[in-house]
């Protein structure tokens, strides 16, 4: 029973398309995050939500929009995909804002061609 699950695990799409990555956690955590890992393996925070409220919104293009329908779900929608968006996207959750029980999903490898 996966704690933080992301779908899909792999996504190949053409430039200009719109795509979504879904994330769900069954840990009862209050806070969820999206991280991006680039081709050099560098991990950087993109967004975080606490109880459906946006807490962190790092400098990412407006084409990226997170959506949290409830505290167990945090989806990432990307419009007008570009080659530079190719990366691994990780969802994570934590018990609270202080980061207890930080748990990562297995990642979504997005390839834009």
């Amino acid at each position: 029973d996966t704690a933080v699950s992301q779908t899909p695990k792999y996504l190949v799409t053409q430039m200009g398309n719109d795509k979504s990555i879904k994330c769900e956690q069954n840990l009862g955590h209050d806070t969820m995050y999206w991280y991006k890992q680039d081709s050099k393996k560098f991990l950087k925070i993109m967004f975080s939500y606490n109880n459906k409220e946006l807490i962190i919104n790092e400098t990412v293009p407006n084409r990226f929009s997170p959506k949290s329908p409830d505290k167990a779900h945090l989806n990432l929608h990307i419009n007008s995909l570009e080659l530079g968006d190719s990366a691994v996207y990780f969802c994570a959750s934590s018990q609270d804002l202080m980061g207890y029980g930080y748990t990562f999903g297995s990642g979504t490898r997005l390839t834009v061609v």
């Binding site: 050099k40 962190i56 930080y102």
Partner: protein
């Protein structure tokens, strides 16, 4: 802004030996958390060890231990009795309230354990 520096892009160690991965960070805050994460080729992010800055005692988890030097802003990871399964990327990370407790990662150290 907080920065995390891992000065060793790649390291190699023989099975059963001990290896130390270095990490330094920069912050003006007194309350924060430090982490080491392991990312094997499967790409899963696995928490190795966590340290609260207010705790002077170094955290340990089985073969993994840290040397936390708060004044020097240093947080190194020691892996004892290295095993082939320890081959992975290792990331040092920092979090505190100023960053909304998001993890601020270093660039990683690629560790290869050889037979």
């Amino acid at each position: 802004a907080q920065t995390v520096t891992q000065s060793q892009p790649e390291m190699s160690v023989q099975e059963a030996e001990t290896v130390t991965l270095s990490c330094t960070y920069d912050t003006s805050e007194s309350n924060y958390y430090l982490f080491w994460y392991k990312q094997p080729p499967s790409r899963q992010m696995i928490l190795v060890i966590r340290q609260e800055a207010y705790k002077q005692q170094n955290a340990t988890e089985n073969r993994f231990s840290v040397n936390f030097q708060k004044a020097a802003k240093s947080f190194s990871l020691k892996i004892s009795d290295s095993q082939l399964g320890d081959t992975a990327m290792y990331f040092c990370a920092f979090s505190n309230g100023n960053s909304g407790y998001a993890l601020n990662f270093g660039k990683g150290t690629s560790l290869l354990v050889t037979p």
